[in-house]
């Protein structure tokens, strides 16, 4: 970079600082002994200790992880099917509608998705007596939300893929299902992993949709954090946030390395 680009460097530094200073300062203060969340009073891990002793938080965490795993897995299956249909089946009836329904949840505000899902569940319950609101309904709403993200990831992978391998397999007499299992699926598996991780984190992160679709006593971790933040900042949340950020960062880096390696192996 030349001298002229100092302005660019300065602008980039400001941008990256904005992205990281809040997270880093939160991590630093999670090790403060003070009861005030932003007053430094010496190094301490007491908030981590009290975090793990907090049964309410641990239950909400387990609930959130379960919902996220179920939702991400179902969304990966549905999203892969959507992605395949949209990128390989050419023009079929309903393609426009499927495409629209697939991009709409990404740009739809959470409150809208939450309210509409809840009203559907209430209507169904009146008519059929099903579903009971709780973890199941949150999972259903999260599948609907995250399927489209998986679709986008699968679609862009499919677009970058050379379809001559699939054609060659079919020329050699493989049936469509065999082609899918032996050729397409291994080729798009990095996209499936990326899609699953994206769906998992989106589900784990969601406050608004879960609040609408949850029943009594089924608080997810974000719902619990939100109510604690509304009541006033507790240093335990600093510790919890630090752990979550660390786990997500490690997960993203590991997934990135794994995908990078696979990519290299697949493209000799």
């Amino acid at each position: 970079m030349t001298r002229r680009n100092w302005g660019l460097w300065a602008a980039m530094a400001v941008g990256y600082a904005l992205l990281y200073v809040p997270i880093v300062s939160m991590i630093v203060y999670s090790f403060s002994a003070s009861r005030m969340a932003t007053v430094w009073a010496g190094f301490s891990t007491r908030w981590y200790v009290s975090l793990f002793a907090n049964e309410q938080i641990m239950q909400a965490l387990a609930r959130s992880l379960t919902i996220a795993a179920v939702a991400a897995s179902a969304a990966t299956v549905l999203g892969t099917a959507c992605g395949l249909a949209l990128s390989r089946f050419g023009r079929f009836p309903g393609r426009g509608l499927l495409s629209l329904m697939n991009s709409a949840p990404m740009v739809m505000p959470d409150v809208m998705l939450g309210l509409s899902s809840l009203l559907l569940f209430v209507t169904l319950q009146q008519a059929l007596g099903w579903p009971e609101r709780g973890m199941g309904t949150i999972a259903i709403a999260h599948i609907t939300l995250t399927t489209c993200y998986v679709t986008v990831v699968v679609r862009s992978r499919m677009a970058a893929l050379d379809d001559s391998l699939e054609e060659a397999a079919m020329d050699l007499g493989a049936r469509p299902w065999r082609v899918f299992w032996l050729i397409t699926l291994p080729l798009i598996s990095p996209a499936l992993l990326a899609g699953w991780l994206l769906a998992f984190t989106l589900s784990l992160d969601d406050l608004v949709i879960a609040s609408f679709t949850s029943g009594p006593g089924a608080s997810t971790l974000p719902m619990l954090i939100y109510s604690k933040v509304k009541l006033g900042v507790t240093p335990e949340i600093n510790a919890l946030a630090t752990l979550i950020v660390t786990v997500v960062a490690i997960g993203v880096v590991v997934a990135g390395v794994v995908m990078h390696r696979r990519e290299r192996n697949l493209a000799p």
Binding site: G15, L78, C82, M108, M112, L115, T147, I244, V252
Partner: protein, 288 residues
């Protein structure tokens, strides 16, 4: 087609139900708290009862119109700030050497993967009185010591920009990376100053990325609930917050549904625009 059925049942049908309930009348102390639309008369004839009362209230009560305008203002100004802040970053990433580019890109994506609720919560520590940012500003003599930015409109702007910046940077970077920088050299050879080359070559060519990024920030920011609720003051009343309050506090489901329908109508045009831009991008990528 299971995915099609799923999306129809859990995404398309709910909107029709929201529309239906927005025309119902609120009944309190009963579950669910609204009147049925179809009424069975004694002689077996069904009659349709539509209440437009919720919509009339939206138009009459200045509170709702103010909330819509406030949401548009928050989203619009934040989108502009994201663009001004994100453009140099995207440009820097696109022009960096490949090794650096990967690292810089990962550093942008990483915060996007961590919880937005927790990042909004982290902002409290920055903006409260004697917080990290407010303390630094006070030490620099820019604000009075003990001043809080938290619970002001400024805090909401900072929060939205902080949360949505990656959504602006990613599509911009994708567009700028495809840009042929030979065009800039050609412009320089023809005597254009750097800023002229930027305005007349780089900027027009990065327009698809600007539009995609702006829509990715603007549309969700309009319906944002968490950021104004946690960082804003009581007067930072956005549509998302109004909908939440009508639903959870006032338990007026038809009014909440009407607010949602009005919000949707407002977002239909930018959503269709987003769909159009995405389709064009995919088509041009398929050709490339």
């Amino acid at each position: 087609m299971l995915p099609m059925l799923w999306l129809l049942l859990f995404f398309a049908v709910p909107f029709l139900i929201v529309l239906k309930i927005s025309f119902a009348e609120a009944v309190f102390g009963q579950a669910p708290p609204y009147t049925p639309l179809l009424e069975q008369a004694a002689d077996g004839a069904a009659s349709l009862r539509l209440h437009a009362g919720s919509y009339a209230l939206l138009l009459q009560d200045p509170l709702y119109i103010a909330a819509y305008l406030k949401s548009l203002l928050f989203a619009g100004v934040s989108t502009l700030c994201c663009l001004l802040l994100g453009y140099p970053i995207a440009y820097g990433i696109a022009r960096a050497r490949p090794v650096w580019r990967m690292l810089l890109l990962v550093l942008v994506i990483l915060p996007f993967w961590t919880s937005s609720l927790l990042r909004t919560y982290a902002m409290i520590g920055m903006l409260k009185a004697n917080g990290v940012l407010t303390g630094a500003l006070a030490a620099a003599g820019l604000i009075e010591p003990g001043t809080a930015i938290l619970h002001t409109d400024l805090a909401v702007y900072i929060g939205i920009v902080y949360n949505y910046l990656p959504f602006m940077i990613l599509p911009l970077t994708a567009t700028l990376m495809r840009l042929d920088f030979g065009l800039l050299e050609a412009a320089a050879d023809l005597g254009a100053k750097p800023w002229q080359a930027f305005l007349r070559v780089t900027l027009p060519l990065s327009m698809p990325g600007i539009i995609a990024g702006a829509l990715l920030v603007f549309i969700p920011a309009v319906g944002e609930f968490v950021i104004p609720d946690i960082l804003g003051g009581p007067d930072a009343l956005t549509i998302g917050r109004v909908l939440w309050t009508e639903f959870f506090t006032n338990r007026d489901w038809p009014l909440a549904a009407a607010v949602a329908v009005a919000m949707l109508l407002m977002l239909v045009i930018p959503t269709l625009l987003f769909e159009y831009v995405e389709n064009r991008r995919e088509r041009s990528e398929a050709q490339a």
